[in-house]
């Protein structure tokens, strides 16, 4: 059973990212969308929470916030809306940490 974990709020504003990353199982994927995309910036303190997790981030939300891909944590997967749908389809369940 694989699960897609969705986080949409900034890790500097609430603890949703911390909860999601600490509860994730092997084989699960984390998708960062909306304000949560700032979590993926390598130089930011919150990026440490992503260690050991398989992480995707929504490209259009990065671009809207002026974050270029070279600023991101290594090994992170930048996806578009089609990639978002693919992730939903390829996982058994979706958990939104609202």
């Amino acid at each position: 059973m694989s699960m897609l974990h969705l986080v949409n709020k900034s890790p500097y504003e609430n603890s949703n990212l911390k909860t999601a990353t600490s509860i994730m199982n092997d084989g699960d994927t984390l998708l960062l969308i909306e304000d949560a995309v700032v979590s993926a910036v390598k130089a930011g303190k919150a990026s440490a929470m992503l260690d050991g997790c398989k992480v995707s981030v929504l490209g259009p939300d990065l671009a809207a916030r002026g974050i270029s891909e070279d600023k991101l944590v290594d090994g992170i997967d930048v996806v578009d809306y089609t990639g978002f749908v693919d992730l939903v389809e390829s996982n058994d369940k979706v958990q939104s940490w609202l």
Binding site: Y12, D35, A43, K45, P60, D61, A63, A64, R65, G66
Partner: protein
Amino acid sequence: MSQTKKFMYINRKAPYGTIYAWEALEVVLIGAAFEQDVSVTFMDDGVYQLVKGQDTSGIGMKNFSPTYAALGDFEITKIYVEQESLEERGLTLDDLQHLVWEDEDEDYAEKDSIRLVSRAELGSVLAEQDVLFNF
């Protein structure tokens, strides 16, 4: 007679995920029209509002970030950015828009609007204000 008061608008949220940043900007411009002594603070996730190179074409929302460059024309010349908030997020002043205003007393010389302040310094600036608006 009306009296000029020191108004400060405090921005603490990232843009686009919620409507706060845009609404704050609108209120700031309205406040400026009433000829008050207006200053604007960006701290916590609010610092993301000033990040340059924003492109919202992929999310179907208006990119309102160019409007920050117009604040100087509305005589809003004091824009405080908190240093600790930038550092925690891996940002530097170079990641932000370069905001300026023209000083008509000095032959319209361009001056920097952004004042990088520590949390302690910001505390002192807050204490000087008459009215605080939070977004």
